[in-house]
Amino acid sequence: MVEFRMPSLGADMEAGTLVEWLVKPGDQVKRGDVVAVVETQKGAIEIEVFETGRIEQILVDLNSKVPVGTPLARIRTELERKAGVALAPAAPPASVAEAPPGVLPAAPRPSRPASMAPPIATLPSVAGRARVSPAARRLAETHGVDLATVTGSGPSGAIVRADVERRLTAAPASAEKKRPTGLNLDAMRTAIAAAMARSKREIPHYYLEHQVDVTSCEQWLTRTNALRPPGGRLLMAALAAKSVAVAARRFTLFNGFYHDDKYEPASAVHLGIAIAIRGGGLAAPALHDVDQMPLDELMTRMRDLVQRMRAGRIRSSEMSNSTITVSSLGERGVDALHGVIYPPQVALIGFGKVVARPWVIDGAIGPRSIVTITLAADHRVSDGHAGALFLAEIGKLLQEPEKL
């Protein structure tokens, strides 16, 4: 039994209306006989059958408009096997990429999207030459945004308007007061209040503590700094920041953003450094790619950041896009801090004061420098097991400061 289907008669024929049957069930037909008339946009066209046999059943009513390929009738053929292509809905040979009837044969799926145009070679950017779209440039100019500190999200890392907009909304104080630089502490406090409240409201925090022996860090710092001028000396804070950043690279559940019920790990580690500001402010400006930053550079930048922050000379562009934050209150004298995560981040590492404590090493008790580090993490993204490993990793990294 084979099916006689609505034929395609033209490249732009999608459907046809059967207006006349010239045969009825029981009639014998042979290949080439005209069996029906189809009305198309071009007029009535007689359609022929390509099978020889007997009409068994008419499947479609008169005056119904049916798409090309619709079975119209069933024919019982006399031959067991038809040479060539069968009209029956037989599965096409597996080796051939067949298209379902009514559809153009599909082009083979290329391994990558086929390029219709010759490849457009964009000139590689010259080192130091930022790509900034005209629209972004204008906006930055109007609002006094320093483009040197904006990260671009456009093609090939170009700065587009949205990047500048993001910079502006991240520092509402600047935008509102229309001052190109400088901070408004009242506005900042309000913003902090809102952020902290939201954090505690939305983020299910869990906390872990870990005591880390940083004696080797101190020893290494002493040795290293002995050879340096005061201005070039390294502080524990740099080691702390670097170890967190390096660990965060591996433990991706703690370095990223939680948005719209979804966690997105960040591709880079931009470490937020929590800094207290004279007058009661608090901010956590970001240093970019800290995991890859050499210690000296990190130290310099941290120093610079703190200095400017405390003087109120921070750039609004530095305020956003931390992927994880580290907070140190060691200088204030507390042993440990249990922080509040800055949304949309998902973790905050706290460092307490470095304290000399009795410690057991190789079975003997001796004085060691111990610091308590804490992890505040978003329980929607990670759990204690991962958090513990993360903290342990930080502790491990701090055992080999020369490798940071």
Binding site: T122, L123, S125
Partner: protein, 332 residues
Amino acid sequence: MTAPAAMIELTYRDAIREAIRDVLRRDKNVFLMGEDVGRYGGCYAVTKGLLAEFGPERIRDTPLSESGFTGAGIGAAMAGMRPIVELMTVNFSLLALDQILNTAATVRHMSGNQFGVPLVIRMATGAGRQLAAQHSHSLEGWYAHIPGIKVLAPATVEDARGMLWTALQDPDPVLIFENVMLYNMTGRLAADAGAVDIDKAVVRRTGRDISLITYGGSLWKTLEAAAALAAEDVDAEVIDLRSLRPIDDATIMTSVRKTRRAVIVDEGWRSGSLSAEICTRIIEQAFWELDVPIGRVCSEEVPIPYPRHLEIAAIPQVPKIVAAAKIALGRA
């Protein structure tokens, strides 16, 4: 150290004639056909004297049958000859457009690479002689739209002399557009000047401040504009495209990257012209280098008028090029 070749001075017309003479001598399969190329000596006197030298089989006068003899050139090329079809001007080439587009440009592709069309078609183009609307077109930009052919615009005596041989060696159809205003132009050429490439643009004048991109008849106006700009302390770089299909993107972008400003000079009508294509390529490939919008100097949106002052106003001129450059430089 070899002695420098002797330099000769000759017209663009002479250079083309020399080129034709040279190819006819070198390859017996080469022949030239077109209207009035033989007994008349060529509408622009390019082929003057060649009939006597090479005979009527190789310098073949045709009836006024652009489609017929262009198709004949295509067929002869497919069958192994190396014909040069001369269409008197681009204005009459429209009668042969079907053969050029639907046969010459498509045969290789349609036959799955079984047959190619190694044909050269030469035609005069451009305005400037008060020949009015039907005799003043610059349609090389249209032809540059078609995949399957190559399009050249020799603007110098050296290119007029050297592009023909290279074009004849090409296995695909090559169209050569000779601007009518260049035929009388004289230039200096090495006596042994030979074939040149047909796919690279050339920087005719290096500069720092702005890239002036042009081709064909407009080259000399652009160079003149560059000289005028230099007097005002603007250092313009002038690029002669030489090939309109393919366009030498690399040379253009290297220039724009340096100068960050571009003005394109194109004798076609502005809308949908080749200059629009070049503009878009610069935006696609060198957007971040640009400091100002790209400027264009094209023919005005009007059929080319007959009276001299109107014709002058209708097509690109030196003052307009200078003005466009100044706008780009913020000195309007």
